[in-house]
Structures are given as C-alpha cells and as structure tokens.
C-alpha cells in the first residue's frame, strides 16, 4: 500500500476517533443563541406591526406578557382600524414566534439532558446555558478541564483582557459567568466571580478526569 492510501485510511480512522460528544453541547448552544436573536428580532417587528392597533400594549417590555396581550386583539386608545387580512397577517407572525419559542424550549431541554450525561457536576454548579457557553469558548470539555480557574473566570471577556494587556487598563473581573445569579446579584462581584470560577474548575475536572 502506498503512503498516500495509508494516510487517507489512517486519517479517516483518526477523525472518527477524535470527535467526542461534547461537540453536541457546543452546537446546541450555538442553535440556542441563534434562536434567541431570532426571537428578539421577530418580537420587535411584531411590536411595531401591532403598535398602530393598540399603542399601549406595544409598550409592554416583557415578551411573554406582550404576546399574551396581543393574542386578545383588543383595539386600544389612539389605535386605527385593521381589516381582517391585516389581523390575519399579524396572527401568522405571532404563530411563528410561538413555534420558534417552543423550538428553543426543546433545544434547552436537550442541552440539559446532554450535560447531565457528559458533565453533571458542571451542570449543577454553573447551570445549563452558562456551562455550555464555557465549553464552547474553551473549545471542548477537555480544554475546559485543563484550564486554571482564573482563566475560566474571564472566558468571554477576551476583548477587555487584551485591552488590559496592551494599554494597562483595568483587567476584566468576569466573562460569561457574570450571567450566573450568584455573581450578578452579589455585592462584591469580583469576589463572587472568583469563588464561582473556582467551584466550576473543580467540578469540570471531576467530570472529565473522574470516574463516571
């Protein structure tokens, strides 16, 4: 067998071996991020389209509340008349938003199941979304397990970290772990971020290197 064929065969085998299940976590969190952007865009579009019919309702900030109010189709003060076709078109858009919303819920549930199998301790300490974002930024569960906790603390704050290295501005205190309750609601956020990243670091090491 000549060298080219040997390499082709060996590479095909290596490629299949090299792929682990944590790539599904990364891909699912990408899907969820896309769906969140999609929902925000569609809802703001719907808000504009409904705004002429009932201006007061379109000022509601909360998405769920807004959607449930729009479903009632009650004409408000300052509103103009919509024909049946106008209302139908808006209702179609609203149905689509519901569909995307339910798709997002299904994906989130799948992500949680996946993480319960692959990294149960990370799921417990960081939660599904933040844990998955950390895995994504690190480029895999193995890379995340080999990271020091101080690096986990600032994952997702690369822009401000490099700004610090170049211009000696203040270093970042937290990256994506800021979205965790224990950090965003704490009084001393830097300390809470340090604490949480330490916990995550220990847990993900147990997940990857420990017995399953």
């Amino acid at each position: 067998m000549d060298l080219r064929e040997l390499n082709l065969k060996k590479t095909a085998e290596d490629m299949q071996k090299a792929i682990t299940r944590d790539i599904f976590i990364i891909q699912t969190i990408h899907t969820i991020d896309l769906l969140i952007i999609e929902i925000n865009k569609l809802v703001s579009n719907l808000r504009e389209r409904y705004g002429y019919y009932n201006p007061k309702v379109s000022r509601i900030q909360d998405h769920a509340e807004l959607l449930s109010e729009i479903k009632k189709f009650r004409k408000g003060d300052l509103g103009i008349d919509y024909t049946m076709e106008d209302k139908g078109s808006v209702a179609d858009l609203m149905r689509e938003i519901d569909n995307v919303n339910s798709l997002k819920t299904v994906q989130e549930k799948y992500l949680e199941d996946l993480m319960r199998q692959e990294c149960p301790k990370l799921l417990f300490s960081a939660g599904a979304l933040i844990g998955a974002r950390l895995v994504d930024l690190a480029g895999g569960l193995k890379n995340l397990a080999q990271m020091p906790s101080s690096r986990i603390q600032i994952l997702g704050a690369e822009k401000s970290l490099f700004k610090h290295l170049k211009t000696r501005s203040k270093p970042p205190r937290f990256g994506v772990i800021f979205n965790h309750e224990s950090v965003s609601k704490a009084d001393n956020k830097g300390k809470a971020a340090r604490h949480l990243s330490g916990k995550i670091s220990i847990d993900v090491k147990q997940d990857y290197f420990g017995e399953k």
């Binding site: 060298l3 080219r4 390499n7 082709l8 060996k10 290596d14 090299a18 170049k166």
Partner: protein
C-alpha cells in the same frame, strides 16, 4: 484577460481593472473553492492565502517546482494546499492539521487529488506521524502558535539538505503586547541559528501583523 507566466514556476498572472491577479493551472480542471476562473486557470486570492499575498508583495523567491515533495504544516481547509498541489503536478504533498473539523474538509480534497495526503496530527509531536511522511524538499508552515519556530525546528528532520522552508508568522499569537516589527526581528534571529533566511516580507494589507519568511537549510 491575457494570462502570462510569472518568474515563478506554475504561477500565472493577469491584469483586471488595473489589478494584478494570480492564477494556478488546475491539473484536473477542478475548482474546489468556487474561485474566479478562466478555463483551467484558477484565481489565487491573496486575501485567502498568505503565499499569494507574499507574491503580490514582491517576494524574491518561491522555491516550489514540479515533482517536489512537500510537508505542509497547518493546511486547514486546504485553500493554499490545493493551489500548491496544482503547481507540483506529479509530486507529493503531506498536509497536516490538528483540528478534526478542518481535516474533514481537507480529506475530501485529498481524496480527489493524486498528489495530496492528509494527516491528522499535532505538529508539536513529529514522532507520532514520523512513519507516515517521507523526506521532503520543502516545508511550508502556517500555524499560529506561540512556539512556532521551535515546532519548525522539530520538523526539520524531514527536510533534505539544501531544502527550503516557507514560513508564515503571526505576531499576535506570539505576543500581543509587543510591536510586530520587534517580534519579526526576533524570529529572524532565531531562524538564522539553523537556517539561512533568504527573504522576508510583511503581508499588510492582506493579512494584519503577519510576516512571510523564505529560508534554506544549510
């Protein structure tokens, strides 16, 4: 557009809207990346390939010839690799990359080209793929790593005497805090321990903070 030969073997040029465009001639008529093409001549885009950017910046030597054996470290999706494959014709090129995802794309190109062989491996660890490569005439290295030159030195065992090295250095991956010119000088000094540096060119504006080196083994 008139396509003419350049002083480098296997690379052709033409002028379009007062812009110089480079081409290589596809050996089997295939155009893997849907580039602009005229008959079998396929555009060699300087924004996608550091070799093409170096040629546009008037590098003095591109030591790629027909029937050469090449070791390509950091082949990625295989854009530059597919063009080098056009130039070497009946030679052989070993394309190495580290990430399984990009090797998947590379694999399908290698399947169709008789002169390319893929390897999934880490350039840091030549012993792992030692048995799968031959002695080569040229090493092309395009990996953005901090210890890039060390990795090159480890792989010099595969290079024949008087063989050439083409090296693309990304200063940002070595140290973000220093000025690129400082880093390029340090790299040149380090390279000249084992190699003779023939030419170097910075690749602005096609690639930011990159430098392209042509070296020869002593």
């Amino acid at each position: 557009m008139n396509i003419e030969k350049t002083k480098f073997i296997g690379i052709f040029e033409g002028w379009q809207d007062k812009k110089r465009v480079f081409f290589t001639k596809s050996i089997d008529g295939k155009n893997f990346f849907n580039e602009f093409c005229i008959d079998d001549y396929i555009e060699f885009n300087p924004k996608r390939s550091k070799l093409s950017a170096a040629i546009i910046k008037k590098i003095s030597l591109v030591p790629i010839k027909e029937n050469m054996k090449i070791l390509y470290l950091g082949a990625a999706h295989g854009y530059t690799a597919s063009h080098i494959s056009n130039m070497i014709k009946n030679g052989m090129m070993f394309c190495l990359d580290f990430a399984p995802r990009v090797v998947r794309d590379l694999y399908f190109i290698c399947e169709e080209r008789k002169n390319m062989a893929p390897i999934l491996g880490d350039a840091n660890d030549p012993d792992a793929y030692k048995s799968r490569v031959e002695q080569v005439d040229l090493i092309y290295q395009d990996i953005a790593q901090k210890n890039q030159v060390e990795i090159l030195f480890k792989n010099l065992q595969f290079l024949k005497n008087n063989g050439h090295v083409l090296l693309a250095v990304k200063s940002r991956s070595i140290d973000v805090t220093k000025r690129p010119a400082e880093i390029f000088n340090a790299v040149e000094k380090q390279l000249s321990q084992k190699l003779k540096v023939i030419d170097k060119k910075e690749l602005d504006p096609f690639e930011k903070d990159h430098c392209f080196f042509v070296c020869q083994k002593r």
